[in-house]
Assembly symmetry: D2
Homo-oligomer: 98 residues x 4
Amino acid sequence: MKVLVDLCIVPLGVGISLSPYIAACEKILIDAGLKVALHSYGTNIEGNWDEVFAAIKRCHQALHEMGSPRITTTIKLGTRTDRYQTMEDKVNSVREKM
Amino acid sequence: MKVLVDLCIVPLGVGISLSPYIAACEKILIDAGLKVALHSYGTNIEGNWDEVFAAIKRCHQALHEMGSPRITTTIKLGTRTDRYQTMEDKVNSVREKM
Amino acid sequence: MKVLVDLCIVPLGVGISLSPYIAACEKILIDAGLKVALHSYGTNIEGNWDEVFAAIKRCHQALHEMGSPRITTTIKLGTRTDRYQTMEDKVNSVREKM
Amino acid sequence: MKVLVDLCIVPLGVGISLSPYIAACEKILIDAGLKVALHSYGTNIEGNWDEVFAAIKRCHQALHEMGSPRITTTIKLGTRTDRYQTMEDKVNSVREKM
């Protein structure tokens, strides 16, 4: 099952500069062979369900190892059975209507 | 790794009465042996990471089988390494301060 | 316009014990005359759009005044024009189907 | 108070092709003079709190007028008092660390 995800990981207890932690997660997602697109409030991910969620789990494990004792994450995820739609398809579909 | 999740699954293309779909997901989560608490905008889930996300995947599969061609889900999830905190602990901790 | 909201406010830079901040927000929401229900990963709120979002803004202002230099919040919100549905209606509607 | 928002509006009861509705919201946000950046699972918005949430309210009103009887929306929003950070700042800050 293909899934499109929007991932926003927030490590707590490490101050307010979170970019080193987000960068570590980006590397994990890319190393997992997933298609990713960073934006200003999260990261879009495209891939197979099991691989995507295995990588998100590794992100949590990595941030705990980097010193964050508590992590709160927000995920949006979409699946569909009618047709395959890439990240670019979704954006283009909106742009065409504007 | 223990995880606390807030799950909100929204099947599309099935009209605006979503409760039969949410009820089906509740059953899947309960049958998985997970601790769940339904609220007005989602379901809190407490369990081990792998079991929780396997059950959420089954929810998506079940709603597609029930006729929804597209599903969009929002998940909040928390992990912590400092101590174990149940769903009730979190609520009680806030109530004590009020 | 009536709105049902699920609010999860996360103050950063104040360590990992967030309950004093959540308790402060609960008081603000209750003092605003809103109907609220605390759960393990947020607070359900029922009220008029303008009043609900004015209260959420006051929560952000209050947590900054309490010492948090950065806040990240997740909100789910629902509006509908077909009929009026309370927080209890939504939960009961699911429970009936289980 | 400046706010960075990630907005994902989902109209229900209008089938599964949502792009005409998202396009209508994009126009509302742009007409409001807000800085916006569309991505594959939402729209990043940068602006003043009151203007941003007034525009989001207009989006809900517009989608109801376009025929959707029910809307569920997910919003992430961040405020900070330590320094001003644009949408680009956030992305660049992560990229520098990669």
